[in-house]
């Protein structure tokens, strides 16, 4: 009787269990619409890294990775549809590459117990792990970006920005509005004047904003743009002969396709970054050998080494390292979403680790903890040179104003916790 029962139970288990173990990673990409220019290379990089792991190492910890791509078009409704259709497949982590979709998913993933990684975008106060249990935005967030830009300008001006005029040209959405609070607080601290110039979706029409810049002659322009808005802004800045070296974009406004349409006039344009540049990394040898030359590259396969491709690569690398960490913690190779969350919370990126992956110096060193889901927030600055068609590093990864940002994060996450009756974790 007992053996019979055991056989039955085993049979039931085998029938219920999936046929093949795999690690499911949904890729909520956008290859269409006004933001496709940024969405395509990011998604290509994200896909290619997992293809590389599958082809070279047979997956992560012996378990193959299955990436499910779902087109969102940067649209929140389609993002919801993509989330619902992929979460049943055993999704380990979501990376929507859209602040709007992130806001939608934060409560949903928390209820469903799936981690959400919003690398350098999304809700900044999610860096407070005490409130946001399932949301991670390491290694840097928008407020680090805002502070990084101001710090860089402080360095340029010998530590004094008082009386200077700074204009923020931003995408009039949750994404573009994120840095305003930080820039305002920093304006009080450093004594500069802040002008806010919103640009409506999708951003092709910016004549009036740049007319205002021409009239008011701000000393510096900071930009929070994405998609087609970036190209238009750089072109408009060139048209009004705004000095390019005084124009700084956030990391989402600092790719090749943003500056190339303006030609030589874009030389000198600056952008922030939290990842490495170009394809001078050992990992690219493997990517070419196992993925690109084998004809397995995602999309057209022509984005290798571009700025946003590197970001996608970096996001995938962080996800795979978190999977390895989770496998180590739980001793299971075929992990589920809750184990993935533990892995992300215990993630540690050291130079030795990145060296071993062939990505030495690709990103900053950092470790994630229960309290801090945001990483150290180190920000670098790069500058475009149209004659060579490359971004050159001006400033290495440097710390940002943790005091100001920490206070703002605590305030915003406390408001969220009060609104949603969340009690603090990690005590």
């Amino acid at each position: 009787m007992k053996t019979k029962l055991a056989t039955l139970a085993l049979g039931a288990l085998m029938a219920a269990g999936p046929a093949l173990a795999d690690l499911v990673i949904p890729d909520l990409s956008y290859r269409t619409g006004p933001y496709a220019a940024g969405g395509i290379p990011f998604s290509d990089g994200y896909n290619d890294y997992f293809t590389l792991l599958n082809e070279r190492d047979g997956g992560i910890g012996g378990v193959p990775v299955r990436v499910i791509e779902c087109e969102t078009g940067y649209n929140t409704e389609k993002g919801v549809e993509c989330y619902e259709s992929t979460k049943g497949e055993g999704a380990l982590v979501y990376q929507p590459l859209s602040t709007g979709i992130t806001y939608q998913l934060i409560p949903k993933v928390t209820a469903d117990g799936i981690p959400l990684h919003t690398m350098g975008y999304g809700r900044t106060s999610a860096a407070n792990g005490k409130v946001f249990s399932n949301v991670f935005n390491y290694p840097a967030n928008y407020w680090n970006g805002a502070s990084g830009a101001i710090n860089y300008l402080l360095d340029e001006n010998g530590g004094d920005l008082s009386g200077k005029k700074i204009a923020l040209v931003y995408h009039n959405s949750a994404y573009g509005k994120e840095p305003i609070r930080t820039l305002e607080t920093l304006a009080e601290k450093h004594g500069y004047d802040l002008t806010l110039l919103p640009v409506d979706h999708p951003g092709q029409e910016q004549k009036s904003q740049w007319l205002q810049i021409r009239r008011e002659k701000p000393d510096y322009v900071v930009m929070w743009g994405w998609g087609v808005m970036n190209q238009v802004a750089v072109q408009e800045a060139a048209n009004i002969r705004f000095p390019m070296e005084n124009f700084i974009g956030v990391w989402w406004s600092g790719a090749e396709f943003d500056v190339e349409p303006a030609g030589d006039k874009a030389t000198g344009y600056k952008a922030l970054t939290f990842t490495g540049l170009g394809d001078d990394y050992p990992v690219y040898d493997d990517l070419r050998k196992y993925v690109a030359d084998a004809g397995k590259a995602a999309g057209a396969g022509d984005q290798l080494g571009s700025v946003q491709y590197n970001r996608g690569l970096y996001a995938a690398m962080l996800a795979s390292e978190a999977i390895k960490t989770a496998q180590g913690i739980h001793g299971v190779a075929d992990i589920d979403a809750s184990m993935m969350r533990d892995g992300m919370e215990a993630l540690e990126m050291t130079n030795a680790k990145m060296d071993a992956l062939g990505m030495a110096g690709f990103g900053p060193e950092f470790s994630v903890s229960c309290e801090n889901h945001g990483g150290p927030g180190l920000v670098g600055v790069v500058q475009w040179d149209a004659s060579t068609g490359t971004w050159n590093k001006l400033q290495d990864f440097k710390p940002t104003d943790a005091e100001v940002i920490g206070a703002l994060i605590a305030e915003d996450s406390a408001a969220y916790a009060a609104e949603n009756n969340i009690s603090e974790r990690c005590n």
Binding site: R31, E81, P107, T110, T124, P198, N420
Partner: protein, 358 residues
């Protein structure tokens, strides 16, 4: 054979003028209601609710609202997205200001506030007609979106300008927020849709609806026979905006949960609902359902076939989707200008005579 009036005798005026006078039609209607209320809630899961049924139910309410204005009263409106935004923000302000009040009341009040705003923007319709009115409502669309982006009071001074639906319940059952179960959100929207459709159907059959249609067909003639254009047009704007406001409130609170006005309630939303009304059929309640179902389901079905079944790249399928929807809209306008509802009507006429056509 079984679908005809013959033998179905009515003994009172009440019976004779009911919505579905043919027995078979009536039973079909009861079966649809029974399936929607009695069976689907027990088998629904998150995917079906959030990807298909909720958007269908909510867009159907919006399409009914717009159909009253455009299809029944003949006043072209491009402000649907803006009015949905009014519903959403009214609902948000009410939800956060009075957390203990039932969601039913919040949604109804949001509809009422939208009706008021709709009447305000409907005032120009007394002077201007046709394309000029369309431009005036377009102004409403842009003004309302700008307003909700501009004034922080509407989004409770949040850092990102987003509004997020907190958890609220109806008689202890959670219907908003991430912990709401699929059946609860589905039933909540279904109740609103059913009641809206019944109200709209009966309004359009009665005096009010007939004055709307008189204005639509020829406003001067209507005025001469004693229809008050002020009353007719403004009631059409009020009723239409009421339904659109309810749809906006549900869209934000139940379906999406977090909304950014420029992206979700932009001009493309106005066009989408207008396409639903045109494809479904102007001046038909059934057409509103058909149009909403068509435009909500088509992209999902195309995606299922293209990506999941055939394994095509996602961007190709997304582009193909645009091509196919565009081609279908043009085809409908040429082949059947009265929309899906007219196809349904023709099919019913054929069925009545079947199997012995003249």
């Amino acid at each position: 054979m079984f679908y005809r009036e013959a033998g179905d005798f009515k003994t009172s005026y009440r019976d004779d003028s009911q919505t579905f006078p043919i027995k078979f039609d009536r039973y079909r209607y009861y079966v649809v209601l029974a399936v929607a209320f009695g069976i689907i809630p027990f088998i629904i899961n998150d995917y079906w609710a959030n990807a298909l049924l909720l958007p269908f139910l909510i867009y159907a309410i919006a399409a009914i609202g717009l159909n009253i204005l455009v299809g029944y009263c003949g006043q072209v409106s491009l402000g649907t997205g803006g009015f949905m935004a009014v519903g959403a923000y009214a609902c948000y302000k009410l939800m956060t200001a009075f957390p203990d009040v039932s969601m039913f009341i919040h949604v109804l009040l949001a509809g009422g506030i939208t009706a008021f705003v709709g009447v305000l923007f409907g005032l120009p319709s007394l002077r201007i007609k046709g394309f000029y009115l369309a431009v005036a409502t377009l102004a409403a669309q842009f003004f309302l979106v700008w307003l909700f982006n501009r004034v922080p009071w509407f989004y409770n001074y949040s850092a990102s300008g987003q509004i997020n639906a907190p958890e609220r319940d109806v008689f202890g059952i959670i219907v908003t927020g991430p912990n709401a179960s699929a059946w609860a959100t589905y039933l909540f929207c279904l109740i609103f849709l059913t009641v809206s459709a019944i109200i709209a159907r009966n309004l359009t059959r009665g005096t009010t609806g007939r004055t709307w249609m008189a204005i639509r067909d020829m406003d001067i003639a209507a005025e001469i026979i004693g229809v008050n254009p002020l009353k007719a047009k403004l009631t059409a704007f009020a009723v239409s905006s009421f339904f659109v406001g309810i749809a906006g409130a549900l869209f934000f609170a139940v379906y999406l949960g977090a909304v950014e006005v420029g992206e979700v309630f932009g001009i493309q939303k106005s066009f989408l609902v207008l396409f639903m009304v045109i494809i479904g059929g102007l001046g038909s309640i059934f057409g509103s359902f058909a149009g909403a179902a068509f435009l909500v389901l088509l992209p999902v079905v195309l995606k299922l076939i293209g990506v999941d079944l055939l394994g095509w790249p996602t961007d190709i399928v997304a582009h193909l989707n645009l091509v196919i929807v565009g081609a279908l809209i043009i085809m409908f306008l040429i082949l059947e200008p009265h929309g899906l509802a007219q196809l349904w009507r023709v099919a019913k006429e054929k069925l009545r005579l079947w199997p012995f056509p003249h």
